[in-house]
């Protein structure tokens, strides 16, 4: 299946892209999908502690248990700093 992965701020700088379409196996849990995406982008792993990264699925913070579906919008970013 295909998903769109979005990066913002520091993660966009690390990856060098703001949006990438990638292929993943069907029926992955969000937690597993995140690990697989991190493996595809060594710069993300190099520049960021995994624990410091936030993961959103379809514009909602992910707990990790969500099942990712074809066409989902994923996002990986560091702790927010607005205000």
């Amino acid at each position: 299946m295909k998903v769109n992965v979005l990066f913002f701020g520091a993660t966009a700088d690390s990856v060098g892209e703001r949006q990438i379409e990638i292929s993943l196996e069907e029926n992955l849990k969000a937690e597993t999908a995140l690990s697989q995406i991190l493996e595809k982008f060594p710069a993300l792993q190099k520049n960021h502690d995994k624990k410091s990264l936030h993961f959103a699925v379809n514009q909602e913070y992910a707990s990790g248990d969500e099942i990712i579906k074809n066409g989902d919008e994923l996002a990986i970013f560091t702790a927010v700093s607005g205000g």
């Binding site: 913002f8 701020g9 514009q59 909602e60 996002a75 560091t78 927010v80 607005g82 205000g83």
Partner: protein
């Protein structure tokens, strides 16, 4: 992104235009309230002693607006308040420019103070917006408290 159904005058917006805090505060005024509390967050010149030249704010816009809407719903469930307005600016901002305005109107001012303080705290924790500080000798994306969310 303005929600205006009958009595309620809540709104949450993201804009690249300069923010006029007086105008924003005035939009939350209901007839039975007597006080508005407004938080005006702006670009500091110094952070931990280092001189900032300017800031750049970036957002995951559709998610940011969803999170702002949730903030408003939660604040209204938690506090005895009437209307809430939240406007966050994006893009490049000079020192002293306002980056965010949160205005809360309530019949009794205590609740407006509490809700406004809660809203800015939660906005900084949950709404996907990031700021980059630009110095004379470099720049850095500021990272929030990583334990705060998700």
């Amino acid at each position: 992104m303005t929600k205006d159904e009958g009595q309620t005058k809540d709104f949450y917006e993201i804009t690249t235009e300069p923010l006029n805090i007086g105008e924003i505060a005035r939009r939350v005024v209901p007839e039975n309230c007597g006080a508005i509390v407004t938080l005006d967050g702006f670009v500091r010149k110094f952070t931990k002693g280092r001189e900032t030249q300017y800031l750049v704010y970036e957002a995951y816009q559709p998610m940011a607006l969803k999170e702002m809407e949730k903030l408003i719903e939660n604040a209204k469930a938690r506090f005895d308040i009437e209307n809430i307005g939240i406007v966050h600016r994006l893009g490049k901002m000079e020192i002293g420019e306002t980056s965010v305005v949160i205005s809360v109107a309530s019949p009794h001012r205590r609740a407006a103070f509490e809700a406004c303080e809660w809203l800015i705290k939660e906005l900084k924790r949950t709404v996907p917006i990031w700021k980059k500080e630009v110095y004379a000798d470099g720049e850095i994306w500021i990272e929030g408290d990583s334990q705060a969310k998700g």
